[in-house]
Symmetry: C2
Subunit: 351 residues, 2 copies
């Protein structure tokens, strides 16, 4: 255990991406993507740090909507939970957590991790995290982990590697937005780009100094609200930590991470991890009690309590929660949000 290392987990989430399996009260981080239905993404995110972050150094930033689900998850109140009065993107969330940590130790290392990513290769992850922590302890840089791409993905932003600083560390020479397929292919082939995974390691004082430099309004609002979260939060600049700080900061360092990471951003992303999860079948990705099928391919089925029968169907997303049944064409996966909007309007308890 390293007493000077704090883990800050960003656990908001609106629950639309894996709807109807996920809902506003049960977003992705509370779902399991492993064989054990009790191994939630959030649970695994915490477990991952068992060997070096102590209980009292674990923070979760979440939203008002998720206060109750979070209490249920953390029924013995081991976690320090910061409940945002309202979701305002990641910059205010990182800022608030840093201000809380500053009260304890401004020299402390702060690791910022999303709650809902899929990381199967635990040891590879930890090795890189330890490197990043060691770097942050000895440098004033802001460290961001970059995922070694395994395909020309258009769904993620990228980091461009700059000068190597050690065997593993690189400067980040640019943050780039989600590319089109052609550009993604160039990035992938060049070997010079990493996926931006939203995982950060820095000293508390270093990120706060960056806030002072690139988002000075944050501290001003904080002070003028007398550090009252309820007052300050609605005024804090609602932007991402990437846009607000990382893209502007001078000394950003990355450690390439090769650990099977996926952010599981949509139902179709299951196809990337289906083999590892053992749910790849001849009919597509199928999570079910059992499955039979005839002439059916490329489907994504999530119906763990059902015998599933597929007949002459292709490229569908089928989700059965017992309460809600969604059948969607895979090519319309991005429109699931619109379905959720309709459900919110007419049947809010199902959203």
């Amino acid at each position: 255990m390293k007493s000077n290392v704090h883990l800050v987990i960003m656990a908001g989430g609106s629950g639309t991406r894996f709807w109807p399996r996920s809902t506003s009260k049960k977003p992705k981080q509370f779902l399991s993507f492993s064989k054990n239905p009790h191994e939630t993404l959030l649970g695994k995110t915490l477990c991952r740090f068992d060997s070096f972050v102590s209980q009292e150094n674990r923070w979760v930033v979440t939203t008002e909507t998720l206060k109750e689900p979070m209490k249920e998850f953390d029924s013995e109140s081991h976690l320090k939970v910061l409940v945002e009065p309202q979701g305002r993107n990641t910059a205010p969330c990182v800022f608030w957590a840093a201000k809380e940590l500053e009260k304890i130790d401004s020299e402390a290392i702060m690791m910022v991790m999303p709650a809902d990513h899929y990381i199967p290769q635990q040891e590879d992850f930890l090795k890189t995290i330890h490197q990043a922590v060691a770097w942050a302890e000895t440098h004033d840089d802001l460290v961001t982990l970059g995922i070694q791409p395994n395909r020309p993905e258009t769904g993620y932003g990228y980091l461009k590697k700059g000068q190597p600083l050690s065997d593993d560390a690189h400067e980040v020479s640019a943050f780039v937005e989600k590319p089109n397929l052609e550009t993604a292919q160039t990035y992938y082939q060049s070997g010079e780009y990493l996926w931006n995974a939203g995982m950060f390691v820095w000293k508390v004082k270093d990120i706060l100094r960056a806030f002072d430099e690139y988002m000075p309004e944050m501290n001003e609002i904080w002070k003028s609200a007398s550090e009252d979260v309820q007052k300050a939060y609605p005024q804090l600049t609602a932007t991402s930590i990437d846009y607000g700080i990382m893209e502007k900061a001078k000394s950003v360092v990355t450690f390439p991470l090769d650990c099977g990471w996926d952010d599981l951003g949509s139902w179709t992303s299951l196809e990337n991890v289906a083999d590892a999860l053992g749910i790849q079948t001849e009919f597509g990705v199928v999570k079910s009690k059992s499955v039979v099928g005839i002439d059916s391919t490329g489907n994504i089925v999530d119906a763990p309590e059902h015998l599933v029968a597929l007949l002459g169907v292709h490229n569908l997303i089928v989700v059965d929660t017992g309460k809600t049944l969604m059948v969607a064409d895979k090519s319309k996966a991005q429109d699931i949000k619109q379905i959720v909007e309709k459900v919110k309007e007419h049947y809010p308890s199902f959203a």
Copy 2:
């Protein structure tokens, strides 16, 4: 009540047509196709005769597999249940019932009715039944009810109307097999054809005489087995009453019946009755708690306990029983049998 009228309901059924809603232990006659989930087709078939067939004149012929479900249905043992040692099509079933009735009254009227047809217009049905019973009481003919077609259906056999015998009765000049679409259209336009619905009315002695004439082996087997059903049944000719008797008999009379009848032979047949059942939506036929959808048409969805969400899907059959979830392309509806075969083989409790 007419004490000389007996109702014989043919209630076999293998449960594949509406699988997974129907199963081998719960074939179509035990399903509800009305707003009240307790109004099963069999229940409604019985109710339909409440005004003129007394309790002790109600017979049900069923199979060994359905013995228990039938006991559950008829928990107070009001029905006289004949359990076939094995299913051997409709001729043996009618023959056995007629032999049982002969012991009571060979002059009695015997009405043979399928257990699993959909008949919404009760009064029209009863009016025609009364005509048919009156005819059978005063003639030695075999009466078969013929459904007035409302579309050029290729899924049913047809009766060709011959000479009119009264305002309503017609001779049947021919029994014809399921036609192709072109022929069905000719039939429909001609007004001379009726759907063969498998509903018969005759005196016990008249049908037994017809058996003696056209299937003399039946009575011979019956006698040589000393009227022991278990011994006789495996030897009885396994054919339909249509093929064995009706197509050959000389004096077959029909009464055209116009009562919204449908035999509900497959999931797609729900489209014919969806308006009447109030389950027609812009997304197709949908039986669910609630439904939301975007860009989805022509589907058939049976998920009464679920909120159903459809996105960019067309012409699917989706059935969710809570235990089994089937998603099929509507054009493959006739292959559901093959799916059921697979299920029977690998997961028999779900078939």
